[in-house]
Homo-oligomer: 457 residues x 3
């Protein structure tokens, strides 16, 4: 910061950055670089006829542009990389930034950047920035966006990282050029961590939908000749959604309980969990978010019930029948307590669930301390599960012992769906027992049952 | 990182940073700089009597402070810049950071920073950090906040950027000092990108409100002498909101469809869209968010219907009338199917809409890959539009052919509002036809119908 | 960026980073460092038998590892720091990064890092990165996460900050090593800024719950022998929640109004507010979020009313009674207007409240300009308060003058809860009076009534 000697008149001219390719991406990148104060030189096969380019940029032949700059952005499709091989002598010692993407995964046996490095072995190839779209560049939607870099030359990566930082991007170094394939797959991935949870959700949805269809609609038709297929749209859906939500919520906490018992059994935390458990634990957040989605649907489906044609119809029929049969409407306080508690618990459970969901927003979760995150995801999570499970039990408070409940000798769906949450809650209760809890805490602090600890890091 | 030779006893003292101005902003900035480990010197006209200053800072005359530091934060209102002109010889080669803001846009013909540079031509003026409030500085609410810099001297900007980064800020370089005006307008802007969507929303609201007022309330009063103005608060509002929400949602997707047809017609993607289309496309997100707001209002307005006095009243009347006329309540399965489907589609549409809205949260959208963002905004978006439009069609399933629907020979509002979404969906359908889709994909990959491509960047 | 001379064959090997401790944290940190392209050397007491370590890392004795590196991560519990004292001569001039955390606050009289510095006085101790969990490191959930550093050696901090930045972390410098205690308390804090608002919320909840319990349930039992305890679950809760929400919302805006009057009275903005007012103002956001939570509960509690057993029962009874007594259902337009307005204002208030809540999401609030934030939190906030207060007044529009309302000579709870919001709105109205507003604006721009201004910074 020895600015006192700064000579304002003779600032040395900045070395320009070079862009190969005058397509959409090349143009947008150039525009953004110019706006951030860089000088830009385009390398083109026909510098005279390459259409509109951002104001302030120069256009030259590839060879000339290479002379002027030591860092070159390659905004050319992989199919046209051949010309770079013929230019290899000019590119010696230059930094080549490979921004290319493919249309599909595994289109080529080799990552684009690795192919480029093979064509120009004496250049320092850096793969990166390929997650930026021309559209985002044009409209300046870069601030805080995270981009990845990889490459075998630390200095070259550093130079690219500095440029990216100046564009307002957050740069993450993914290591050597062997990570290029991974980087090229990034823009092509479609919610990979949601795949397993979605599969589970769809399976549960399908199973419970058909189970309920058989027990409710088909049973009524076969046994009583009553065609009530209109119940599918709302009544049936509103049974399936809460069931799937509750099961998936409990599946978020089951792997944690299993892991605790595994650690207790093994007496150490230093042996890896089985692969399926690791994978399960890593998609708990996504599982919880899907469960929240179903809970949200359940809430709205429930709230529109009084708007339904069937509700109005049933109410009017009830009033008319009561009048005709000269019945008096009797008020059962037990019924009032039970149904009101059922609703109150449902609301409370949904409220807690929404809180859990809010903390999984990147910006909210990121601002929590370790203890806060732990508190929310564990304490608040188990409380949510407990409240929602009780909500489920209250639903059937007076139906468990009714023979009519067990149509065709099958238990109703809501009983089936209470199994997993109940198991999880019992497991958690065992873990909370003082003697078990003490052992588990010691194991998690590094104590091992079988061998003496060397170091307690 | 040659730390091995680091001599711990004799660390050279850091050069202090200077702050001109001991007002609110100056004090808060100084406090924050001190907390981040910098040394701070205040320059003041009367160093003896300038009130409370943060602990650890020194106060001197302007001239003395200038001697001690090479970087000076100017926390003085533009009206008091004159004294800096008299100090110009002392400020030669110094970095001056202009943090000033004005109370209104266009108060002065020249940006404050440009004026400062003119007063002290030999200093390196950097405009920036002016989006920080004294309040945010005092309370340490800086982490991750984005600030802008501009200036004509790269080294000076670099020095300021380093300080800002140490304060936990994210710095974005906006180029030369000519951008100062833009930076000074930043803290004064009030949702500029919401202006056009809000205008459209208000126009639609007004049009449909009066259209419905005439058809529903005034028609009933004029033709039947029935004063039903009480319907304005909920019934009418709950017709206007979904209509505006649906029209605005479809207006999010219309410009994309128009752009596709324009590209097909022109046979190239390299000619710019007309200005109005560009502007329209850039406010699609804001348009969608407003539409989501109206959809949210529609949902709650719908859900409170059974709580309304009119609902209770109508239900009791229905029951009493049925009894009196000895009617039996007949249950129409078609009606049940239709209304339940109507509700189910509405809920599903709202659910998808909320998902769309969630991905427009900066922290969520920023963590999506290009393909994921594309999937959500395009596939999921069109699905939402399709579901919501079907919800609209189902609303009028048995009303389209009824003569009573066309009061005063005008179509009901819900028919009007289905026009734009239907057009968008038809356009999208045409684009999805294999032959059209193939051509469009080729055009978007850079192929041009009329001229041979030079390079495929 | 003089890359042209970059010799690709002979890149000098990077100096490795050293990690003391092969526990969970040490292993995870090493793995992440290796993935980011660093070389890693572990220091261990028994290099031959320290279990699984990440691929690519070397293991040596502590002394050997110290020779190889100039920066050492201490991933050892504080209880085992003694061995570092004996190694002090080897550690001279090295950077030691203390990542340790304690299980409880105030376990030791001295911060861990200060203790370490005392043991090894010639090393440069940097406290930091202690907010990272082994789990987050293992799963690469670091991007954009904010970490803190402190230490007495600027260069040492700089070196650690560079490494952290390469891991994708955002680094915040918290100053000298004396801040170590604060950093060590970070992972142990549990929503500290929510403590006061939660206390207020719980007090209000308890007060209004018992107030309503006495007036509604106990009064009915004592005076009329009517046991209606079933009303606690939903009816009573749905009275307490909106009351607490409204009071807490108004408590968000009361301190601002008090501050304005204090500034008007003192004639200056340069004297500090009393401590309680400062503290109150700093927890306004949390207060508002809790209020939003209660408002959310109120909305869902209200929406399930038509689903309740009591609703159905009351409706059927009403119809049956009307029939029996041969009454005609009369429709009161005033009632319809009043209740519909009541609902419409409630919905609008909740909608505005949700908007306020959205802007308090870190990623949304961070993207607002100063004027936008001000507009939302002040203008929109007061509008929300006004709408919600009017919603409250409309609730009691025809009850204020009814003697039956004042059971046991106490006013109903909804009247009590309207006091604070009404006071806040009146205060705001006074502040908005042109003469008051002008003086206040001048004071806030730095004008002082009693003494001449020196500088207008």
């Amino acid at each position: 910061m020895s600015m006192e000697t700064l000579d304002m008149e003779a600032l040395p001219e900045l070395e320009p950055l070079c862009i190969f390719g005058t397509g959409d991406l090349g143009r947008s990148l150039g525009m953004r670089l110019l706006q951030s104060g860089f000088r830009v030189v385009y390398g083109s096969r026909r510098p005279q006829s390459c259409g509109l380019l951002p104001l302030g940029a120069q256009v030259m032949t590839h060879a000339e542009a290479t002379q002027a700059a030591s860092l070159i952005f390659i905004c050319v499709h992989r199919e046209h990389y051949d010309f770079l091989e013929t230019m290899a002598p000019h590119l010696k010692g230059k930094v080549l930034v490979d921004l290319s993407n493919n249309l599909k995964k595994n289109m080529y046996p080799e990552a684009n950047a690795a192919y480029l490095q093979r064509l120009v072995p004496k250049a320092a190839v850096v793969k990166g920035l390929n997650t930026l779209s021309a559209w985002a560049l044009q409209n300046g939607l870069l601030a805080g966006k995270q981009v990845y870099l990889c490459g075998d030359h630390a200095e070259a990566k550093q130079a690219v990282a500095q440029i990216a930082t100046k564009l307002g991007l957050t740069v993450l170094d993914k290591g050597s050029l062997s990570a290029a394939r991974e980087l090229e797959d990034f823009p092509l991935q479609l919610f990979p961590e949601f795949r397993l949870p979605l599969l589970i959700a769809v399976s549960l949805l399908a199973f419970f939908f058909f189970y309920l269809l058989i027990r409710d609609v088909i049973y009524a038709f076969v046994e009583k000749g009553n065609e009530i297929s209109y119940r599918i749209m709302v009544s049936l859906a509103n049974k399936v959604f809460p069931i799937v939500a509750l099961v998936m919520l409990s599946l978020c906490y089951l792997p944690g309980a299993i892991a605790a018992f595994l650690q207790l059994y093994r007496g150490t935390k230093y042996s890896r969990f089985p692969y399926w458990l690791d994978r399960w634990m890593l998609c708990r957040k996504q599982m919880g978010l899907l469960a929240l989605g179903f809970a949200f649907l359940h809430v709205i489906y429930t709230l529109i019930i009084p708007l339904r044609y069937t509700f109005w119809n049933a109410l009017v029929s009830d009033a008319v029948n009561k009048m005709k049969n000269n019945e008096t409407t009797e008020f059962s306080k037990t019924e009032a307590w039970a149904t009101d508690s059922f609703f109150a618990l449902g609301i409370l459970g949904f409220f807690l669930f929404v809180l859990l969901g809010l903390t999984s927003l990147p910006s909210v979760g990121g601002s929590l301390s370790w203890r806060e995150f732990n508190f929310v995801q564990s304490k608040l999570g188990y409380l949510t599960l407990l409240v929602c499970t009780t909500h489920g039990y209250l639903y059937g408070w007076n139906k468990f012992l009714l023979p009519a409940t067990y149509k065709w000798y099958t238990p109703p769906a809501f009983m089936l769906c209470l199994i997993v949450p109940s198991v999880v809650l019992v497991l958690k209760l065992i873990i909370l027992l003082p003697c078990v809890d003490r052992t588990l805490t010691r194991i998690r602090q590094g104590w091992e049952r079988n061998q003496p600890k060397e170091e307690t890091g």
